[in-house]
């Protein structure tokens, strides 16, 4: 009887953890007890008493395929998803005390429009970088041609 009670209490205590798994914007969360550090409608940060490598291995095994990009950062990995899921990114950060924080961010039009605008202007920058040497080349060639013409007429 006591054992049954222990099991039921344990299950009851684990329920929030289980329900949190995929509970925020359907994002996968590592198994284990995570402590919610902060939570808003668009962002949730959780802290896990798990090594960074273990949490990262969990995400690499869960989020397989070309629809997810893993970008390395100093002491962190930024995971982006490119399908139509409610979450846009998961940031896994190594903390100095050996724990790991997981930050889930909601998909937002701000990111889409912002990155598109940036890329649109980046196309201009690429072509301006080509324009500058071409203009310099044109000026140099024009001066050379003027000198040649002057020498010929002299």
């Amino acid at each position: 009887m006591k054992k049954l009670i222990y099991v039921m209490v344990t299950l009851f205590l684990l329920t929030p953890v289980v329900s949190l798994a995929g509970g925020f914007l359907d994002a996968p969360l590592p198994p284990g007890e995570g402590k919610v550090v902060s939570r808003t409608d668009s962002k949730m940060e959780m802290s896990y008493a798990l090594p960074y490598d273990q949490v990262l291995a969990y995400y690499k095994s869960t989020l397989k395929g070309s629809d997810y990009a893993f970008r390395n950062r100093p002491n962190a990995t930024y995971i982006e998803e490119y399908t139509a899921k409610p979450w846009h990114s998961i940031l896994v950060t190594k903390v100095a005390d050996g724990s790991t924080t997981v930050t889930v961010t909601k998909d937002s039009w701000t990111w889409i429009v912002g990155t598109l605008t940036l890329r649109f202007f980046a196309v201009f920058i690429v072509l301006i970088c080509l324009y500058i040497p071409l203009s310099i080349l044109g000026i140099v060639m024009k001066r050379l041609d003027t000198k040649k013409a002057a020498l010929k007429s002299a």
């Binding site: 070309s66 629809d67 990009a69 139509a84 889409i112 890329r119 196309v123 072509l127 324009y131 080349l137």
Partner: protein, 384 residues
């Protein structure tokens, strides 16, 4: 032999015949193939590509044809699957086509007036606007990127990007891109007139300066340097383009130029068209997405046209010597058709205004701009 044995024999023979496995979608695809063949043969719209694409659609949409699968006993790819795998999945065909294009291109008008590079950048507006529209319509981010590049009107870049990000949309994207490219003379003029006044359409442009051979030789080297440093993702495509151009401008490898711009390009064009056409099997093509892509492509082209014209008008606010905004529409890099459209529309308002060579600058700049935009998308989303 019993009657049952005879029946089984006939049944077995019939089972190997394709017509026993017909479905309603197949005749629909035959009609679609027929439409593209009609456009290519009768109307002369981009026949070099629409004819093999159209026939590819036709030949793959039969039951049990061993074209796009894998041989059951050997595991080797079947005929068109082999073309597709080695040509498109390995991204060889688009790069070789660009080699040939480079060997046929004269960058003189662009070098003579390098500020038209900005017009080529402005004409990519439709790419980014359409991306937003695609995401709203339910496409994934990678699919949206591959569909939106259609507006750049650059077939090999569209194929290169689509294969990298969303290969499942290759057929629909390529078809939309080449179909709309052939319809540039129909699509662009109304938007060009809408965006410009009578006075602006008559702005005369001074004859371009002469461009020396040295400049034409240095240009591919400078372009490769800049593109490879800033947008390395698209370097395979642009490097091959500039290699072809360098071979042409050097003047010392005439045979290579002749081959790359002639026979080689024709060979890969055949393989490209047939492979792309054969990806359009009924069960993949007759869904909402490919049909939506065709309509989005039209919006893409329109916004790109408007983006190019708007860029010229914006530049004119700062330039002493104004540019005719009609050349802005040539930033849609359907070379040289878009430049010809700019010239023809300009001629309608002033017979003495020869805009063709001036429009070639933005036309070629559009190629660079589309490649840069494609490189941005590949860098953003990685590869499939």
């Amino acid at each position: 032999m019993s009657p049952y044995d005879v029946y089984e024999m006939f049944r077995g023979t019939l089972d190997t015949m394709g017509f026993m496995s017909m479905s309603w979608q197949l005749p629909v695809m035959w009609c679609i193939a027929g439409a593209f063949l009609y456009l290519a043969i009768v109307k002369g719209f981009e026949p070099l590509l629409l004819l093999p694409i159209g026939f590819g659609i036709f030949m793959v949409n039969f039951p049990m044809v061993p074209l796009m699968g894998y041989n059951e006993s050997t595991g080797y790819p079947e005929l068109i699957r082999a073309f597709y795998h080695y040509g498109l999945e390995w991204e060889i065909i688009p790069c070789v086509i660009f080699l040939g294009l480079g060997a046929l291109t004269d960058f003189g008008p662009l070098i003579a007036n390098p500020k038209t590079l900005l017009v080529g950048a402005g004409a990519q507006l439709g790419v980014f606007v359409t991306f937003t529209g695609c995401v709203l319509a339910g496409f994934t981010l990678k699919e949206a990127a591959s569909v939106s590049i259609i507006g750049g009107a650059d077939g090999p870049t569209t194929i290169y990007l689509t294969q990298a990000l969303a290969p499942q949309l290759l057929g629909a994207n390529a078809l939309a891109a080449y179909s709309y490219m052939s319809m540039v003379p129909l699509i662009q003029p109304p938007f060009m007139r809408m965006m410009t006044t009578d006075a602006e359409r008559k702005i005369p442009m001074r004859q371009l300066r002469a461009v020396s051979k040295t400049e034409k030789i240095l240009y591919p080297l400078v372009s490769t340097l800049v593109i490879s440093l800033l947008v390395p993702a698209v370097s395979p495509l642009m490097s091959m383009f500039m290699l072809g151009n360098l071979m042409k401008e050097s003047g010392v490898v005439g045979r290579l130029v002749e081959t790359s711009g002639g026979a080689l390009m024709n060979i890969v064009t055949i393989f490209l068209g047939v492979s792309v056409g054969c990806t359009m099997q009924a069960e993949k093509f007759l869904t909402a997405k490919p049909l939506f892509i065709v309509s989005l492509g039209l919006i893409d082209f329109a916004v790109c046209t408007m983006g190019g014209v708007a860029t010229v008008k914006l530049m004119n606010l700062f330039l002493k010597e104004k540019m005719n905004p009609l050349i802005g529409s040539a930033g849609v890099s359907a070379v040289p058709m878009a430049a010809r459209v700019s010239h023809n529309v300009g001629q309608q308002y002033d017979k003495k205004n020869y805009l063709l060579m001036h429009a070639m600058g933005p036309n070629l700049a559009g190629l660079m701009g589309t490649a840069a935009a494609a490189g941005m998308f590949i860098a953003m989303f990685g590869r499939a």
